[in-house]
């Protein structure tokens, strides 16, 4: 089963994203900060990470950069979708510079998020 890791310190958002992705037939795990997210990524080896930017302990950009620099080449290539309220052009540049695969700005459309997740995963990964 395709595994997705959602890392967001806002439980309202994390629950919603998890719900939406579960409906796609994905196996979803949730963490609430970058440090826990990085540890979970190393343990779970997800097929995709949905990542908030502004979080305690380790922010999303730091976690994304750490993933990209991981010694495990497969983990280092994991698609990362940044989901953030930081909407300025330089923010977007910083997000992609840190290694994000895609970038969604809050307020967001969960339907769009589901579409982008589907597009970032290998064909056949989602059930609908």
């Amino acid at each position: 089963m395709t595994r997705v890791l959602v890392v967001d310190d806002d439980p309202v958002i994390a629950d919603l994203v998890a719900f939406r992705l579960t409906r796609l037939g994905l196996d979803v795990s949730v963490e609430t900060d970058g440090q826990a997210g990085l540890a979970a990524a190393r343990q779970l080896r997800p097929d995709l990470v949905v990542l908030d930017w502004m979080m305690p302990r380790m922010n999303g950009l730091e976690m994304c950069a750490a993933l990209r620099a991981d010694a495990d080449p497969e983990l280092a290539r994991t698609p990362v979708l940044l989901l953030t309220a930081k909407a300025q052009e330089p923010d977007l540049e910083r997000g992609f510079a840190a290694g994000a695969t895609d970038y969604i700005v809050k307020p967001f459309s969960p339907r769009e998020l589901a579409t982008r997740v589907t597009a970032a995963l290998p064909p056949g990964s989602v059930s609908s």
Partner: protein
């Protein structure tokens, strides 16, 4: 024991008792609060799937009997969402009478109630409440006025643009930053009104309009902005905002006017903004005026010119290097910019064009 000693002992005992009572009361309050929060979290957890199911297009028959906590859940989620999911949640608030009750509260006696109602209506994005929200822009309480401005921004109603711009300049006004964010929330539909505002109203409104046009990068406003920068009779803040906007729009059509503003005797912020804008635009025709600006008597202008030259790649670097060998302020500015250039190893955004 003497009577005074007895009295002191009794007093101390009473005091200790009171302290113990206080500690027990605090502990009890903490316990009750923790239980209350746990109960609320459990009830939220029960209701959350209902909201999610709603977003998934499932039947909403259970919604009618759901407790008021559901409204809070929906209101927490609304600011994070857009598109069809946002519309679905707005419909829930409307159906459950939350929007109607908030509209009634817009005229409440308490400022906190009025402010909360305005914020709720903003989250619920009810364009039909634009008129009462506009009235709140002149509320006697500053927080309510700001709440109304933010709410109007979220309604998406273009009819709010005029009143929002007017609120910046009114006696009991709304801070330009708050109005600016609200106007940005309204999207690109506000651009025609902003272009009109460049030439109307008070300077603070014109400057805000120019700033927002710059953020949108609206090329249709280029000629009007050029006219503002080139008109020495205009307010200095308006001219500065117009110059910054031209830099963001990035059209070389503005180069000559910005170069003239840089060379002119205008106020320092205008000349600095003109230099920065020339750097952003990257027209090679700006290399000479920016290089001349390195010899400005004003340190800020010299710095802005040097920073702008770093954006031109090799041609800019060569101009800076030629000045860096000189003694005096222009050499200092050039050396400082070259240090930054070396540190960041910026290749120059306009290297290809220049």
């Amino acid at each position: 024991m003497t009577p005074p000693a007895q009295a002191a002992a009794v007093g101390s005992l009473v005091l200790s008792g009171l302290v113990v009572l206080l500690l027990v009361a605090v502990a009890l309050e903490h316990l009750l609060r923790t239980r209350r929060l746990a109960r609320e979290a459990a009830r939220r957890a029960e209701l959350t799937p209902l909201v999610h199911a709603l977003l998934d297009g499932e039947s909403t028959a259970e919604l009618a009997g759901a407790p008021a906590l559901l409204d809070e859940l929906v209101l927490d989620l609304l600011p994070q969402l857009r598109g069809a999911d946002r519309s679905a949640l707005q419909a829930v608030l409307l159906e459950r009478g939350v929007v109607g009750r908030a509209a009634d509260q817009l005229t409440a006696r308490g400022a906190a109630r009025r402010g909360r109602a305005a914020l709720l209506l903003g989250n619920a994005a009810s364009a039909e409440h634009t008129t009462p929200l506009v009235h709140l822009l002149s509320d006697r309480t500053a927080e309510v006025r700001s709440a109304a401005a933010r709410a109007l921004g979220k309604t998406g109603d273009p009819a709010a643009v005029g009143p929002l711009l007017a609120a910046v300049a009114s006696r009991q006004g709304v801070p330009p930053g708050v109005v600016g964010m609200a106007l940005l929330d309204l999207g690109t539909g506000v651009l025609p009104a902003l272009r009109t505002a460049l030439d109307a109203g008070r300077p603070v409104t014109q400057a805000l309009a120019a700033d927002l046009i710059g953020v949108h990068g609206d090329p249709a406003a280029t000629d009007a902005l050029i006219a503002l920068v080139g008109d020495p009779g205009r307010d200095p803040d308006v001219r500065r905002s117009a110059a910054q906007a031209l830099g963001r729009i990035g059209s070389p059509v503005a180069t000559a006017t910005l170069a003239a503003a840089l060379r002119g005797s205008g106020e320092r912020p205008l000349r600095g903004a003109a230099a920065e804008a020339l750097g952003r635009i990257g027209d090679p025709a700006a290399l000479d005026p920016l290089t001349a600006g390195l010899r400005s008597a004003d340190a800020d202008v010299r710095g802005a010119c040097a920073d702008a030259l770093t954006l031109f790649g090799e041609p800019g670097r060569l101009r800076l290097a030629a000045h860096a060998v000189l003694c005096g302020p222009s050499g200092d500015a050039a050396r400082s910019a070259l240090d930054v250039l070396e540190f960041t190893r910026r290749p120059g955004r306009h290297a290809a064009r220049a």
